[in-house]
Symmetry: C2
């Protein structure tokens, strides 16, 4: 079976000012560069971790799994609201950005480091400005972690500097 | 007031095989090197983030806060069980290690990058092999995030290689 590839990711079209996140910012040279796109009506982020992100040798550290679920959630909510607003990646419209209100992760199994991880998201609008993303993280066919992220649309004042 | 310093940290005495975590392993050259010790009957981890761990410029990315709460929780549980077993850091006994079962983070305010963060933990034994740590993360005097971590004693088989 042909391996799925995320061709169009929401993080590819974030405005430059919002593209610096260590988790998912394309402009952060050191970061993970998580990229989140549609796969049918689900969202998907595929990521193969570098060796340094170990918890104990051979297994990922929990913080990376939490980070993946967090940024995947943020990207998923942005994808969904962008589509609700009548837009798709590539039509030139600037997508919304979300901030995380809460993050919950259940660690089900030790997550190996030598296979690509897939975070698969199911999105629910719980308020026009508040969205929930349920995420499952697979290493190969093994479900290693589950997470729930609640996100709110980033206030327009968020980046304003105090004079 | 004199700044509090964590002099004796549980991560300083983890066996080498368990000292590689990107969050809290002293042997991981690239990692955060979170160090967790007692402050009265609370636990504390103090950490000043590098600039690259931004979410948007000037503010931390959520994954780092989740990682701090996760590793701080793991270290706190190890401190508490070590003490329950009659040991203190420096007496030569090998401390227990925990793995995270679940992690919950409420992000209360954007967390600035230019001040030291303090994670303060309150520990509860909910079963001899299952502990809960409630953590508050402060940037200066500002409470930026709260978290709950449930941890279980690492099974002795966890590191065994399959032949």
């Amino acid at each position: 079976m042909k391996e799925f590839v995320v061709e169009k990711a929401i993080q590819d079209i974030y405005p430059d000012d919002f593209a610096w996140c260590y988790g998912c910012g394309r402009l952060n040279e050191d970061g993970h560069h998580f990229r989140t796109g549609w796969q049918g009506d689900k969202t998907i982020t595929i990521y193969t971790p570098e060796a340094k992100y170990m918890g104990i040798p051979g297994f990922l550290y929990g913080g990376l799994i939490a980070s993946l679920i967090d940024c995947h959630g943020s990207g998923s909510a942005a994808l969904a609201l962008h589509r609700k607003n009548g837009h798709e990646i590539g039509d030139g419209a600037i997508p919304p950005r979300f901030v995380t209100a809460s993050l919950n992760v259940d660690f089900l199994k030790p997550t190996p480091q030598d296979v690509a991880l897939k975070a698969i998201g199911t999105i629910e609008e719980i308020h026009p400005k508040k969205w929930k993303v349920e995420t499952e993280v697979y290493a190969g066919e093994t479900l290693c972690a589950k997470g729930t992220v609640v996100l709110v649309v980033m206030p327009s004042t968020f980046l304003k500097k105090e004079d």
